[in-house]
Symmetry: C2
Subunit: 484 residues, 2 copies
């Protein structure tokens, strides 16, 4: 009884994790019940006979979760059946010319050679990746047709029936999978990548504060949630095989939603690989949060500002990349965050060069500098990821972000909300003022000109403001949280 | 023409990489030709008829590369066919009681419910890992039997024939795969792990010298080989899925060679995971070999001795673990190497504490200390791996290493070869002398007693000597290369 309850609980969990699974199960049941109608209805049975069974088999074997996998398997199966059917008929014809004794021997030799050769070819890495299933069906069909041809005289008729039932079975799978609640592997790959970006960003956004032991939010629920988000990056470490199979399936899919037929899925794998490289570094960095050789609070405080900025800015860059990938816009705003992370890393280097490390114990130093070096590594990788994402964006023809004009002509005085002052290197203060409805950006300068642009509101409700001080070239990005 | 030549070249490469692939292809061809004899010979055909086709299908689908995979698939298929056959007969019986109009409707409902439910259960992670194929066959057989039962009146007869042909097909695969040049997944997993150990050891044995830029061998061929060995560790990074599927297959295998039926394959995965963790660190360490922030030769020289010893000793520990895994003996000699690596890491820490870092540039420091910290990490992991391997050794009942008696009774004066003097902390010199035929160990003390044990010769021709100075407790391991 306990066992049953456990299974039900597991079933609920599986369904909740991805409700499309339930829909898929219904779809399979539906197609199978439909196809088995071949047996029930006399006219259909008369024309196909026992061969109707192949339609049932095709449905069971071909109907996969995503459209791409179903299409790939279906096409593989139909093509292999056609090709092997042709060859099988040829083999049968050749064998039948060699007389009653020679025929079975010759057929056995054909089957042996064909099976051995095809099995060997299945070991070729490139064949294994895309055409493994084709070859399996090829071996099967060839053996069945050339051999059963030995019995039944109408080999061509048999082959014809087998091929048409396979096509009927395959076609019903493909049609149902495309037109009834389709699950697109391409869309899944796209979302997977965006969520991987997000997972890394959760870590990086929080890491600086955690490392420098800044006091946390008191709300335990909030803390728990953030702790879970923080550890989420671990699932990125092993996403390689998932990404690869999704990309493989996506190649078979026709254009859907925002994706064209020849969407650059390969570039997704390149970006995914870089994200994973970054996740490895993050995994190593995580171990320094609870390391044995604790770095004293004192030195952490001294280095805290640039350290936190490095982590925060690369986290923001990741977050922006996630959002722009989701929206399929060019990730232009991430550039600024990466620049900021770079400049923070420069200030950190300057701090280190100023002799701040003189009094630090060597063992603390090892732990501290390793963490720093990993962070620098992460920033480098973030830059590389951004480059790869830019490539992806231009290959996939992502839209430009709709940016607001730099200065609105005449802000309405009443709706002004003073939002945040941004200090740049030389103490020029840029006060950003937002027109509450339309997200126009403007600036009150002290005495020189500054560039300010406000990007559209993001899903999480934050408005990101990018300001560039024209006089000194320093640029800064801040999140605007309070909006009246 | 060029294309054909390329395919032939690829075929040669695939065959050379693992010649068992060619044998496997022949085996598949053989079994398929054998099983299709069902069609040729009248007596066999009379009893099975068209159902003989199921034997052919079973062979094509079930015959996998390793014994474990074939057994697993075969058992899955037979069990699912039996179970679904029984249920199918039941469903047919139930439906037939509801009259001519009700029967097809009821059958369609049965097929729908069964297919939807089974498809959903296939999403359960634990089911997917081991019983995915079972469920596929279950859906298929149930649909075929309950539905085709609607036509043919002798459902029980049909089911019986289907089950026996599936058993015949499955059994021939299993027998051939076990008795003709078997490929054991368990053995493969075992070898894979041993070779992973070896790959890491190649890196670690060379890393110290490379990092400290000690002049290399002039022989370019030798250098090329070592460069290749050095980079070999990269294949360890992505071995997870391979290990998991091998372990999954190995569970199905009967006892073979040195492996019992319930060999602790799970523990192999645990060791493999730790090896991979270590490989991640090594990957990071490798990037510091050609880092931008070059550490000056001067400081490298100062820290060189302990640094090289750390890397060398952990490399030796890996090498010993690889050898003892291959030979299935307890990895006792690795303990000493790990101890040595630890003591080297202690001397390094002492050196660091002595203020040697005062003059180093901060940026050099980051690069240097990160490399050191990664090395320390690697040593910690080596220790963990050793622990896991000890657990594996006791779970799998590995043999004890045949150690020679500590002091041979009376060494033959003539065959003495003085081999190496080992200095320990307090300058006690242990001169080790080997009796050339039998690998006995002994020691000439200066004036105090020392422990010396010589382990058996290893595959690579090296003899490893472990010496412990009783008076000061310092232990040392050296490779004895020159043996007359």
């Amino acid at each position: 009884m306990e066992k049953v309850r456990e299974i039900v609980r597991e079933g609920r969990r599986v369904a909740k994790e991805d409700p499309r699974r339930v829909v898929h199960s219904f779809k399979v049941g539906l197609v199978l019940a439909l196809v088995s109608s071949f047996y029930y209805y006399q006219p259909l049975y008369d024309s196909f006979g026992v061969n109707a069974m192949w339609a049932v088999m095709t449905v069971v074997v071909v109907f996969e979760f995503s459209v791409g996998a179903t299409l790939g398997k279906g096409l593989n199966r139909v093509a292999a059946t056609l090709f092997a059917g042709g060859l099988g008929i040829g083999a049968h014809h050749l064998a039948s010319m060699s007389g009653a004794t020679g025929e079975p021997i010759l057929l056995a030799i054909f089957v042996f050679v064909q099976a051995a050769l095809s099995t060997f070819v299945r070991f070729f890495p490139r064949v294994k990746a895309r055409y493994d299933y084709s070859l399996l069906i090829f071996i099967l069909t060839f053996a069945l047709i050339s051999v059963s041809g030995f019995r039944e005289e109408q080999v061509v008729m048999l082959t014809h029936k087998r091929i048409s039932t396979v096509i009927i079975g395959g076609l019903s799978c493909v049609l149902i999978s495309i037109f009834v609640c389709p699950v697109w592997a391409g869309q899944d790959l796209h979302s997977l990548l965006a969520s991987n970006f997000e997972k890394l960003s959760f870590f990086l956004l929080d890491f600086g504060d955690k490392y420098c032991e800044v006091v946390e939010n008191d709300d335990t629920k909030e803390v728990d949630k953030r702790k879970k988000d923080f550890d989420n990056y671990k699932s990125v470490l092993n996403s390689k095989s998932n990404e690869e199979s999704l990309a493989n399936f996506a190649k078979w899919e026709p254009g859907h939603g925002q994706f064209r037929f020849r969407h650059p899925w390969k570039q997704y794998l390149a970006v995914g690989e870089l994200i994973r490289q970054c996740a490895y570094r993050i995994h190593a960095l995580n171990s320094y949060l609870n390391a044995d050789n604790k770095v004293s609070i004192d030195i952490k405080k001294k280095l805290g500002e640039p350290l936190r900025r490095m982590s925060l800015e690369s986290g923001k860059a990741m977050k922006e990349m996630s959002i722009s990938l989701k929206k399929m816009t060019k990730p232009s705003s991430s550039d600024l965050h990466v620049q900021n992370a770079r400049s923070a890393s420069k200030s950190l280097t300057n701090l280190l060069n100023s002799g701040i490390l003189k009094e630090v114990e060597p063992l603390e130093l090892v732990s501290l500098l390793t963490a720093i070096s990993l962070l620098i590594d992460i920033i480098n990788l973030t830059e590389k990821i951004l480059e790869a994402l830019h490539e992806l964006a231009s290959a996939a023809k992502f839209k430009n972000k709709i940016e607001q004009p730099l200065f609105s002509e005449k802000p309405k005085a009443k709706s002004f909300v003073s939002l945040r002052s941004i200090k740049c290197h030389d103490e020029h203060v840029v006060t950003i003022i937002e027109d509450d409805g339309n997200n126009h950006g403007t600036s009150k300068n002290d005495n020189r000109s500054k560039e300010v642009s406000i990007h559209e509101k993001h899903e999480d409700g934050d408005t990101h403001v990018h300001a560039r001080c024209v006089s000194c070239g320093h640029s800064s990005v801040c999140d605007v949280v309070e909006c009246r």
